[in-house]
Symmetry: C2
Subunit: 607 residues, 2 copies
């Protein structure tokens, strides 16, 4: 906001463009809370004109590929989380509930969402949330669990609506990689623990042989997906070979089909006649199609809950809202990260309002509440992005023959650089994926799901969990600290700040992560959203006292940095003295410049 | 041999230097067969002066590290091969025989060998050879197997002595990467098949649960060794991270200790209380220390064999000699490859004579015959090599900011380049390793061996087998053919020859490999040395008709190319018109120039 411009002119401009902000206002008008629904109003106003094109733009081949990809990348983890939740909530939440919830969310957000790129569905964290509440309720009376969850959903929905009405999503502009990396690391660790628990459970339920076979399938599934993914994206082989494989154009196909391939292969493997078939392992438990897993009607009789319990559910609903506030909005932001050249704007306030509605419906129907999915949301955008792989020729001043024998000619180094050209922004892929999920709720498809061993889903946990850890900035900085200094490129921005400060930065991140992991294994697990949210004020209010601006600019970056995102979040965050958004994330930017845009892999929670 | 020099002068010079050759001789003197023992005489004459220094040079820290490393890298595969042989020769060859054979070979070759760097021991191929003979003999009378093997050994020894007396090892100078790569690929495939057989066997012997657990241990063992090896040698991570890890100085330690670490870890794992310990899996079968596995005296009563069978053993002995002729000499050559800056000469004729002696002794004692080990022999030299990692700075003409915003300064690319400075050439490591092997034959150590699950050795098969395939030139050329052309560095020599020719080259190699693999699974398996040896005349006599000299120079290289090696092999091979040894192996040389000397990993059969 250039100060030279008059306030009236700026207000006028934002009206026309559909963006909104409070920064240029004075007095009481600065207070977000005094402008109810302003964010939502502008969200709808901004997006509505694009609605027809959201349908017409979908007529490309890419829509079909993306739909199939997203169906698998959404379905498999959802089932994995549900297996865990099913076992630990007295079999209240089953496959039918998870499919219903995913389908509901997909249809609602694809038809009504301001940003249909944000895939919404069942996450591992809602699974953790639900079974922790079960662990608490079961100490009193397990029978009231459905009604209590319904009220948790109702309260959460109310808080969602309050947040959207009073424009509180604006604060998401202050999310930086400091907290989103911590969150990614936390989720990765939790998922790997879940995978191990799934396998341990197999030993208890089906005996030793089944346990070993389950471990075998999970590890080989992980190996297959991980190996193929790296082969395709060309980061594994030795330098010679990698150069051969590094055509990023193949990755979209590879990444889609390798999950399908690996899943089909290992499901088939588990049915191989002989020893394999004879070993009875746990398979996905299914029940009658379109019916709740337990014998109940879809609508929970939430009106039959004692009024004390109704109010006990209030803080739980608030915590659920906090979780979704962070998780859903970060998912949406990463689906609209700056690396994707998006043209159409998003709308955080409106989408959070919608999320309140789905939370409400899921609550009274006894479904796991859906919210924004990482990594599925950014994978969705990625699958719709048109990439071009350019050849980058780095001329060197080194002669062709190192011994100088044939002088003259110089050698140059060839590297592939990926550039994102455009994104097919539309709402049909999300919608079609929702229809496929509804199709999966039918009898024949449930029978297919039942052939899948639970062990494959332990493998899914490993893939998604490790993907999140491996690409995480915390690990990258840790490895930098252990590198031999002389081999680090001289223009590496991390070299310009003291190693002590890098250690402190990742120490603070890991402290947050470990606190969350620790709390997740106690009855206080539902409190973890508070810890995650607390990382934001820690970063914005406290850390500038311990780090110089320059240090933070190198190590940290604003997560919400795409222009179309900031338009909905009330403009750029108030930045520290004298810095521009462009001055942040120096390390990340150098990496993009050197190696091109990082591709979003399905097995990677962090962007 | 410059033609300007007089023959007398050349003869005189070779006398002084201890090298020998037939190339400068005329008439009947050109015939190797008419100069019995000439090769051996020069071998001894050339090496003897270095004998005192072979002992005094050993007083460095590196001797201890190398001894421990070689002990593990020799022992573990030897046990793996023996498990296979034990089961398939009616339990005639057991652990005691394998240890005795390894110790015998180590002591003989370390004390008397002309090239003590060449580690000699029990290979997977002798295992294949022995049990194929068993499969044949068992059709007539299993009881004569020991005597028959003794006579096979006796005949083989006689052929060994004939070969050394008549200087036939000279022909090894014509071995090129064409056949040695094929051999490496063949061995890799056979080892992986052996590993699978080991696991399949577990299902039959100990039931389903044990089978799955064995698969799990083998796969995780493989994953541990492979993962750590790649982490250490820094070829796995993505480019950023790999740069951090690529200090090759750590590899010696990493490579040694990771086998030890992985082995200890997974052996311990198999004894973990609970499900793991309760599952009974096959462990290394041991018998009374220092006694033959079966109740017999150490000396086989070979004089009790029917004379018909004595002569039936003759062709088997010849085939065994053919196998060792190729396998032992190639092992010795790779242990003295050009990449190692060796100062002390070797002696192929003398060593092959010694190998005849050990074959004789092994035969009449009923031991598996030892011969030169790949990859252990080159790993031995590697472990004694003093490497330095230099920083190679490649200046580029690219500005620091790709967008040109801050012009001026240019970025340079930093790469680690490994250079071999010297080798600690001595015979103490080999000798001490022999003493350790004798120690392993005692009761307490056998008890330790008995704690090891057979599944770990299936993992060893996978590590060694895959290492051989992954680094193989056949695979590398195959991947080159599938690379996207624009990302290949312009100075890649393979670009200068037609793709059709590269395909033909690897097709011929794979035809040889697959013929060997196929024959290895029939009763004709003992014939595989003939096929391997036939690749040499195919390459030297036929292939020049189908390929131009330049094409062969790029794709192929003489395996024996170290000066100290050629001195014992009668000088440089007669090369095609107008080419020098330096003109060969263009592709390999470029790789060395770009990335430094390739390190010999324990899990890699091909050099």
């Amino acid at each position: 906001m250039e100060s030279g411009e008059s306030i009236e002119r700026q207000l006028q401009r934002e009206e026309t463009r559909g963006s909104y902000s409070f920064d240029v206002r004075r007095g009481w008008r600065r207070w977000r809370i005094l402008h109810p629904c302003r964010g939502m109003y502008y969200d709808v106003k901004r997006r509505l004109p694009y609605y027809p094109s959201d349908i017409t733009d979908a007529f490309t081949y890419r829509t079909i590929a993306s739909t199939i990809r997203m169906y698998f990348v959404n379905l498999l983890p959802a089932i994995a989380y549900t297996l865990d939740m099913y076992r630990r909530t007295g079999q209240f939440y089953g496959i039918n509930e998870a499919l219903f919830s995913s389908a509901l969310a997909a249809v609602v957000f694809s038809v009504l969402g301001a940003q249909p790129l944000t895939i919404v569905g069942v996450t591992g964290l809602i699974s953790l949330f639900n079974f922790t509440i079960y662990d608490i309720i079961v100490q009193y009376d397990a029978a009231i669990y459905p009604q209590f969850m319904a009220w948790t959903g109702i309260w959460a929905a109310i808080f969602h609506w309050l947040v959207s009405v009073f424009n509180a999503c604006d604060y998401m502009r202050y999310v930086t990689d400091f907290s989103s990396e911590s969150f990614g690391m936390y989720v990765g660790i939790i998922y790997i623990i879940k995978g191990v628990e799934e396998l341990v459970n197999e030993f208890g339920d089906e005996g030793t042989a089944a346990g070993y076979l389950a471990c075998l399938i999970a590890i080989l599934y992980f190996g297959t997906v991980y190996g193929l993914e790296h082969l395709g994206s060309g980061t594994t082989w030795n330098p010679t070979v990698r150069g051969f494989l590094a055509d990023y154009a193949y990755v979209v196909i590879a990444d889609t089909s390798l999950w399908q391939f690996a899943t089909l292969f290992w499901v088939g493997f588990s049915h191989f006649p002989g020893n394999l078939e004879a070993t009875h392992i746990t398979r996905v438990p299914v029940t009658a199609p379109f019916m709740p897993t337990q014998s109940r009607s879809w609508i929970i009789d939430f009106w039959n809950l004692d009024v004390t319990w109704v109010f006990v559910a209030l803080p739980f609903g608030f915590l659920l809202m906090l979780l979704f506030y962070y998780d859903h909005n970060v998912s949406s932001i990463t689906a609209q990260a700056r690396q994707y050249p998006l043209k159409k704007p998003g709308g955080f306030h409106w989408d959070f309002f919608l999320l309140g509605c789905t939370t409400f419906v899921a609550g009274i129907l006894g479904l796991p509440m859906p919210n924004g999915l990482v990594p599925q949301a950014p994978v969705h955008t990625d699958s719709l992005t048109i990439y071009e792989t350019d050849l980058r020729i780095i001329p060197t001043s080194e002669p062709v023959n190192g011994d100088g024998s044939s002088g003259g000619d110089t050698r140059d180094i060839r590297r592939p650089i990926v550039r994102a050209k455009a994104v097919v922004e539309q709402r049909m892929t999300h919608f079609l994926m929702g229809l496929l999920l509804i199709g999966t709720m039918t009898g024949p498809f449930l029978t297919v799901l039942h052939t899948m061993p639970a062990a494959v889903f332990a493998g899914v946990f490993f893939v998604v969990g490790w993907g999140s850890i491996e690409s995480n900035g915390i690990l990258q900085k840790f490895l930098f600290l252990h590198a031999e200094a002389r081999f680090v490129q001289r223009d590496e921005p991390l070299l310009s700040i003291p190693r002590r400060k890098i250690s402190l930065f990742i120490f603070l991140q890991m402290a947050g992560v470990l606190a969350c992991v620790a709390i997740s294994h106690t009855i206080a697990a539902i409190g973890f959203p508070v810890l995650i949210i607390l990382l934001m004020p820690l970063r914005i209010l406290l850390m500038p006292r311990w780090f110089t601006l320059r240090e933070l600019q190198v190590m940290d970056d604003f997560t919400a940095d795409n222009k179309v995102v900031l338009e909905s979040l009330g403009g750029k965050p108030a930045l520290p003295e004298g810095s521009k958004v462009e001055d942040w994330g120096l390390e990340r930017k150098r990496s993009v410049q050197m190696r091109g845009v990082p591709r979003q892999r399905a097995g990677s929670v962090h962007r």
